[in-house]
Every structure is written in C-alpha cells, then in structure tokens.
Amino acid sequence: MATLREIRQRIRGVKNTQKITRAMKMVAAAKMRRAQENMFSARPYSSKIKELILNLVGQVEGYNSPLLEVRPVERELLVVVSADRGLCGAFNTNLIKAATAAHKESEAEVSIVCVGKKGHDFFKKRDFTIREHYLNIFNNLDYSHANDITRFLTNEFVEGRTDSVKLVFNEFKSVAQQEVVIEQLLPISLPADEEEGKRHVDYLYEPSLERLLQALLPKYLGTQVWRALLESNASEQAARMLAMENATENATELIRDLTLQFNKARQAAITTEILEIVGGAEALKNG
C-alpha cells in the first residue's frame, strides 16, 4: 500500500491538474461564445450573396463560368479543416477519420490541403500528398484567411490541376454536438432556390449581368470557405469545453477516491501504533 506521503503528493498533483482543466474550460467557453457570434454575424452577408447569385443566374439562359464547369474527376483536392491545438476530445480524430475514409473511397488521385496544425501533423507523417497548408490561423481568424485559401483553390481548379474540391470540416450543431461534414466547393453546384414564387424584380445591372455574376461567384466561394472556418472554430471550442469539463469532473472523482484511501491509510497507521503500545504495555505488566 502506498505510503501516506505518496498519497498526499498525488492528491496535490491531481488538484493542480484540475485547476488547469477548469481554467481551460472557462477560456474555451469564452472563445466559443465569440466564435458563435462570428458565425451569426457572417450570416446576412453570405445569405445575401447567395440570393443575388440565384436571382441573377436565373436570368441568364445557359450561363457558363469556369467555376461551374463539371469535368470527369481525375484529380481531387480535400480541404481538411482541423484545429491548431489538441486537448479537445475526439474533435481532430473524428475529422481525420472522415477525411481518410473519403480519401480511400475516392477513385480519383487525391491531394490534401491542410487547414490547422493537427491535421497537417497527421497527414505529413503518412503516405499522403499535401498540396498546401495553412497553420495557426484560428487564433486570429480573419476574413483574409478565407480569401487566401479561396484564391488558391480557385486557381488550382481553373488551371486544371484539380477537377473537384471538397471541404471536410466539423459543423457546429450545438454545444454538445459537432458533426463532420464533407461539402462540394468546386465546381460550384448552385443550391436550389428554396423560395418559389418570389416576386420578380427588374433590376438595373451595372456594369452588366454577366460581369456581376463573374464577380459574385468568387465571393460566394469565399463565404463558403469562411463558413467552414467559423463552424470548425466554434466546434473546436465547444469540443474543448466539454472535454475539459469531463476532465475536471474526473479529477474530482479521483481526488475523492484518493482522499478515502489516504484516510484509511492514516487510520490503519494509528491502529497499528495503538496496538503496538498496548502490546508493549501488556508485555511489561506480565513481565
């Protein structure tokens, strides 16, 4: 049985760990709230861009753009949005699992674009082709990151180095639930117009309908990438918050067990001591 001093030391150690996990949980909660706010404030912009595109595309018969071109998929890019840091439960593991599965299933020649350090660490050690990586962006997430990534992916697609681009990221369902989703980014498949029978507006177009569409489509891609980054970021913080809460709880339980063990050991020590004294006294009396 462990000695009293050893147990006391363990208790102290676990308590210190608990302090850290509790602090990390609080930080993650604050960051998650901010990430959620970012998600909400991005919404009006993205939905309006989408609305404009749908509105305009409907008015051009057989509109075509390099971004809409569907080719037989010989080469494919998977954009894997992981976290930069660990200690967030199964967040990165689930994502990597889904990405690897998608990689295996695809019949095309697949390359990977890593966003986030954890995914990059995993894929570079193994037999995967990494086309590009964006690391340490989540600490200071900014729309220009989404822009950089979008520009790179668009070039790859338009210049024919890839025939399809997919985003793999954690979608923020709720604080307790994140879900890995795989979304087609390029070629753009325009979402169906949900609102049937919308009133038709005769807009004045400046400079022209075609040029507007040509300018709008890249912006649309930007909002898609931005959304993936924001969702992933919020999910990461939520996952971390939960993981740290569990860790804190486990520590509490561990401390309780250890304290019990400590008290038992102390009691046992006292009992032994008393027995020795009594035994000694008895021996003296009899002698």
């Binding site: 404030s41 309006k48 729309y143 005769d202 807009y203 177009y205 400046e206 400079p207 930007g222």
Partner: protein
C-alpha cells in the same frame, strides 16, 4: 431611405438617409430616395452617407450594392467607419508597402504590395474625412 452595410464580420444599419454615394466600377454614383432597383459592382474606395444632420464616411473594399424598395444594401468584404480607422496603423502599413515596392526584391509579391499600398492610402484618405467634417 435606409442603408445596410453587410460584411462577413459585421452589419451596420443606418436609417433616415438622404443620399448614399458609392464607388461603382464605372465611377462614383449617388443613390437618392426613390431610386429604381439596381445591382452594381463596387470597387474599393469611399462610401459617403448623407443624413439630415451629419455625414458618415466608410472605407470599403470592393463588393456589391443593391437598391430595392428604398433600401440600399452594400455587400462588402470589409468596411470601416471613418472614425474607427486607426491612422497610425494605416500610416505604418503604407510605409511598409512603399518600402516593399521600392526594394523590388524578387520574392516580394508586387501585386499584393500594391494592393496593400492602395488600401492603406484609401483608409488614410477616409480617416481624414472624419476629422475634417
């Protein structure tokens, strides 16, 4: 007339606007109340919003403008009200970009440096409006 400015980061709503001047790709134009429905592409520059008692300026990146039913909606990747622009930082960015352009080393991205320079210059210009108005 109402004006809404939506960016990926924020949304500004401004009510009771008399006129809104925006940098269209084919030149600046002004929208007054009762304007017909319009969708226009914007280049980077300055958006001026005239109200009854004051005028607001925004430094903006490129984007789009929609007019519909007496409401102007600006979709921009970035927009900053003149009074929120940090002139020190803009000056710094301008200097940095200038230096990069002057050195002309092969590994500087000239297009990006030029874009950074014009962005910084634009922000400084718009910030100047805030202090003078």
């Amino acid at each position: 007339m109402n004006v809404e400015i939506a960016t990926p980061a924020r949304k500004y709503s401004i009510e009771d606007v008399i006129s809104c001047t925006a940098p269209g790709v084919m030149g600046n134009f002004q929208v007054l109340a009762g304007h017909t429905a319009l969708i226009s592409e914007l280049s980077a520059g300055e958006v001026k919003i005239q109200m009854q008692d004051k005028t607001q300026y925004y430094a903006v990146s490129g984007g789009f403008l929609e007019v519909l039913d007496n409401r102007v909606l600006l979709l921009l990747e970035a927009a900053e009200p003149a009074e929120e622009i940090n002139t020190d930082r803009a000056t710094e960015a301008q200097e940095r970009a200038k230096k990069r352009l002057e050195t002309r080393s092969p590994d500087t991205d000239m297009i990006r440096a030029e874009a950074a320079l014009s962005r910084a210059a634009n922000r400084l210009k718009v910030a100047g409006r805030a202090s003078s108005s």
